[in-house]
């Protein structure tokens, strides 16, 4: 299928756009590359802003409203910049029956932050995951990419407060 629409230039000369462009080109700049392209953009920039969404949509020939529809459908994509640190709390079944709920309550009480929110000072973003598959470590959390198992709310709050 030939691409009939003209490809837009990268929004800025930031080199990270090249990564996104390459990933799309490898998939023939077809509309089906949309989710892969959003992954690439989020990996490169940390989140998806309107500029990135427009660029991806225009390159692949996907209507803007559909790009937005896809980006907001999948919970892995985030349209807002994250805090300096991220803490992902697993809420899978094994973690749930081993105290994930108490962890979330503890975080809210101590740091006044709920899942999908960032603390007022922009330091810590709290996310939840539907099972990390690390059930032997339940309840498990990921702080800045490091998996921590068998955590308590108090320990976690102490660690986050020290960051």
């Amino acid at each position: 299928m030939p691409v009939l629409h003209p490809k837009p230039p990268a929004p800025t000369d930031d080199k990270r756009w090249k990564i996104v462009e390459t990933r799309m080109r490898r998939m023939g700049d077809r509309p089906s590359a949309l989710i892969e392209a959003l992954h690439a953009a989020q990996e490169a920039f940390g989140y998806l802003d309107t500029e990135a969404l427009n660029f991806v949509g225009d390159t692949l020939g996907v209507p803007h409203s559909r790009v937005y529809g896809v980006a907001t459908f999948y919970s892995f994509f985030t349209l807002k910049p994250q805090g300096e640190h991220t803490c992902v709390v697993c809420t899978g079944t094994a973690c749930y029956i081993n105290g994930a709920k108490e962890i979330l309550v503890g975080l809210d009480r101590a740091l006044h932050v709920k899942p999908k929110e960032t603390t007022a000072d922009g330091k810590i973003s709290i996310l939840t995951a539907r099972c990390l598959g690390a059930c032997s470590l339940a309840p498990a959390v990921i702080v800045d990419g490091d998996v921590k198992g068998k955590v308590t709310a108090a320990e976690l709050v102490a660690q986050l407060e020290a960051m």
């Binding site: 969404l53 427009n54 209507p63 803007h64 409203s65 559909r66 790009v67 937005y68």
Partner: protein, 238 residues
């Protein structure tokens, strides 16, 4: 040459061509199967679940709008069980958001309201969800009140399939699902909207409406271009 199938709907012998849906054949034979996401002329999506019918020999119910007929099919389109389900689903649509008919532009011209009347729905039992949702009146001619949207997505489909603008799409998921324009921006700021008004015309409720119309003014009753949708579709060979 088209193959003709004979089948039964509610005990009546009817015939239809290969490729036709149960909904289409029922309609041709004067059998009314309710539906709110279905609209002749645009693609079906089987989402409102009001047109669910029983098909002998299959344990699960099927959406009449998306089930193609086969020879000898035995369809039950009306039964006590189906009526109960249809009432419940209509009730779900009412309690999902904030439908207040008395102050709605579509009062007395609303397909959801008609559905409730047809199904003799008298009161609501199910828990009310009543979220706080927005009204977007930024467009010069039209407005959308999400309180009245039942997410049939006729607007999305007509904008894409007929107008070709694809201004409308859906955002979020689950209960947070909303129709939206372009990048979720105010409708009035949309650069793709042609202001053709088709979305307003196909909206079954008062969610999409022309500005400046009073309550129950009947703006939704005039749908001059709708009969042409089917003609357009047939001409395109779909």
């Amino acid at each position: 040459m088209t193959t003709v199938f004979t089948l039964q709907i509610d005990g009546r012998d009817v015939a239809g061509s290969e490729g036709q849906t149960v909904m289409e054949v029922a309609e041709e034979n004067g059998i009314d199967i309710p539906g709110l996401c279905h609209l002749e002329g645009i693609h079906d999506r089987g989402a409102c679940r009001l047109c669910m019918v029983e098909i002998a020999g299959t344990p699960k119910l099927a959406a009449a709008c998306m089930t193609t007929i086969v020879e000898g099919m035995d369809v039950t389109a009306h039964s006590e069980r189906l009526l109960e389900y249809r009432r419940a689903i209509t009730e779900m649509m009412f309690v999902e958001r904030n439908h207040v008919c008395a102050v709605c532009v579509a009062n007395n011209h609303c397909e959801l309201q008609d559905m409730a009347a047809d199904l003799e729905l008298t009161h609501f039992d199910l828990p009310r969800i009543s979220p706080k949702v927005d009204i977007d009146a930024s467009h010069r001619l039209f407005a959308i009140d999400h309180n009245r949207c039942i997410l049939c997505l006729r607007c999305v489909r007509v904008c894409d399939e007929i107008e070709g603008a694809h201004t409308w799409d859906v955002m979020n998921r689950g209960l947070d699902t909303r129709v939206q324009t372009d990048m979720g921006i105010p409708w009035g700021d949309s650069t793709t909207c042609t202001s053709c008004g088709k979305c307003v015309q196909v909206c079954p409720t008062g969610a999409l409406f022309e500005k400046g119309r009073a309550v129950a003014s009947g703006s939704k009753r005039q749908r001059p271009f709708l009969p042409w949708l089917k003609v357009v579709k047939e001409e395109r060979g779909q």
